[in-house]
Amino acid sequence: MSTAVAEVPGARPVNYLNAKYGIRSWLLTTDHKRIALLYLVSITFMFFIGGAAATLMRMHLITPGGALVQPETYNKLFSIHGIVMVFFFMIPSIPAVLGNFLVPMMVGAKDLAFPRINLLSWYIYVVGALFTLYAILAGGVDTGWTFYTPYSSTYANSHVIAAALGVFISGFSSILTGLNFIVTIHKMRAPGLTWFRMPLFLWAIYATSIIMVLGTPVVAITIVLVALERLLHVGIFDPKLGGDPLLFQHLFWFYSHPAVYIMVLPGMGVVSELIACFSRKRIFGYSFVAFSSLAIAVISFLVWGHHMFVTGQSIYAGLIFSLLSFLVAIPSAIKVFNWTATLYKGSISYQAPMLYGLGFIGLFTMGGLTGLFLASLATDVHLNGTYFIVAHFHYIMVGGTVMAYMGGLHFWWPKITGRMYSDAWARFAALLIFVGFNLTFFPQFMLGYLGMPRRYATYPAEFQVLNVMSSAGASILGIGYLIPLVYFIYSMRYGPIAGPNPWRATGLEWQTPSPPPTENFEETPVVTEEAYAYAQMAPPAAVAGRNAGG
């Protein structure tokens, strides 16, 4: 049992970071804020592993014949990049780091509903990551992140089972995280915090959690079936033995398409917070933005077949999946329009988090619109399996999710650590990432349109210019990601004290000291007004505080 946090005059206030010391106090913590930091460290580690694989790939592709590695090694590089980035960075990124830190604070609770399960899910994540790292060190895996059968189950001569087990195990981490969020948002909201007073970040996390709970078990069981087939040589998905490889793809994409929304929905939640705060306005069309999150979650389960237009699925199924895929554009567009309308006549300031927020809107829009090319049956036949797809989903995942994750990290960093980072460096890094990102991936749209297939270690000489552009962009992008690592770590010791609410943002998390005490709030907060009441908020340079009128 923890005791109430007492302010000792003259001494440093007790907060979650200095309440206890030592490695045990971290590894056995049940404090959601500390668990968020455990996740932050582990997914950053995985991010740089996945990033290293990407760097090697882009270096290799500088010359048409391949500059660096053997083709087999190249196959392993893109598989490692995909598996690590999707399952061990993107999926846990915003939910497990920012969500863990913020959900209890935004609902005004002391912790998540099940703190020990929360810690357990971090350990499960670590075990899953260790399996995957083992697969990498033991010689890698070359199936791509999609584990398509029968290649993965029969022919692949690499460490498929270890990698698959890693993905399987980490799935339970995301199921338990989602379960915790759903229960917390349902049952632990502070007095007065009705559903329609919740920050949109919570709506987005709620919708994400639904996908995690419903989708992840399906891919988990599918991956076990692949491992069994590989181990026992039975023909669950092997056509030679009567199995159906298309069934694997159905089961895989039933999760893995919604998983795209596990990745991007929380990003949309972050961006809603950023846009409102740095425009000093209530978000335009609050309930539309809130419900569009749920709509995306629901529709996301009905579109998986658009990954299989050319793999032998019935043409009628293709027609319906195409139509449903277009439908998912509607709630996504609702969000983009509402963010834009929020900016209209707002008093916008371009601090680092806002740069990421604006970057998200632009890049997500491009990623979304190019997704429509792929949702159309006819154009997909041309573009499927080319770099166009690679560019499209990187615009969503990197241009969307990673931008939002970085924006969220910059926005809540003062809350997490109590310190400010250098705004000048942060803006510089944000611009560098934006430029580097576009230089990396825009040429890939062109490469794909011209017909360069993905996952090949070599390419015809006529594609070299665009490939060199892409590789050059990747090096800028890489530096852009390294700079924040430096100034974030620097700020933890030398950054100026942030104070409880440096951005003068609304939301319960800003009404408590930075870093927050272990129990989050001195007393349970009571909510009396809508989210984003920026109209009542004091203008710049005023004392951070909150006018409770309404």
């Binding site: 229960v183 419903l214 989708g215 039975v234 009567g242 199995g243």
Partner: protein, 248 residues
């Protein structure tokens, strides 16, 4: 909290609030307060969170088995003769017995929850133990069936070479596919049963220590939900595997 989530496990016709109010004696709120974890405001919130948590978990479980059921359904459609033939190779008497055993265990589990709610400690422990006996019986019969399949060369991958000649329209790989699903689905179900027995063991130990009372029985109730869920999975597995074989 939608009340229907809790109602099935309460004494019939008794609204939630009453059921807890009736059992509240003097000083019981203090007793209950000992069990409230720090993140919750009060016992009600804790109880509701725990129950909702288990329901959400069960939704995950449904999807977990759901993927398998979907795959089973597709292959049954594709290879109907093989699946019917495979189904006839299963021992329907043992399957039926196991179904009865599991339904009985659900009854004793429900009675255990009822005993917990009414504060009858001895009955609670007895019903929990009885549930465990039924669960173990089920697993024993299942293991016996597995051994027989091993003897009959019907274990896919490891020892698969049926001795009888296959009827027309049935190929060996397709029959093996049926047994893949038979073993994987029943083994996954059995794993859930084993986990359930582990939970029951903990509950019995805690009950003996007097941890539960009419004010605090959430772990019993929540574990009951899990147990019933595992039973229901079997209720679907039994006809799919044993009955749809065209033998009447």
């Amino acid at each position: 909290m939608p009340k229907w989530l809790r109602l099935p496990l309460l004494p019939e016709g008794m609204p939630v609030a009453e059921a807890t109010a009736v059992t509240h004696g003097p000083g019981s709120s203090q007793h209950a307060a000992q069990h409230i974890a720090h993140q919750f405001v009060d016992a009600d919130q804790q109880h509701e969170a725990g129950t909702l948590g288990m329901w959400v978990f069960l939704v995950t479980e449904i999807m977990f088995f759901g993927g398998l059921f979907a795959a089973y359904a597709i292959y049954r459609g594709l290879y109907l003769p093989a699946f019917e033939y495979g189904s006839r190779l299963l021992d329907i008497r043992l399957g039926t017995t196991n179904t009865a055993v599991l339904i009985a265990s659900s009854l004793t589990m429900a009675l255990a929850v009822h005993s917990a709610q009414t504060g009858k400690r001895k009955a609670l422990i007895a019903f929990l133990l009885l549930t465990m006996v039924f669960g173990a019986t089920f697993l024993g019969i299942k293991a016996y069936e597995y051994v027989h399949k091993w003897d009959d060369f019907l274990v896919p991958g490891l020892r698969f070479a049926p001795t009888e000649t296959l009827p027309a329209g049935v190929t060996l790989p397709n029959l093996q596919l049926f047994f893949c699903f038979y073993f994987f689905m029943t083994a996954l179900h059995g794993l859930h049963m084993i986990i359930g027995l582990g939970i029951m063991t903990v509950l019995v130990i805690l009950s003996r220590r007097g941890r539960f009372s009419a004010d605090y029985y959430a772990p019993i109730e929540i574990s009951g939900l899990y147990w019933h869920f595992v039973d229901i999975v079997w209720i679907f597995l039994f006809p799919l595997l044993y009955l749809i074989g065209g033998r009447y």
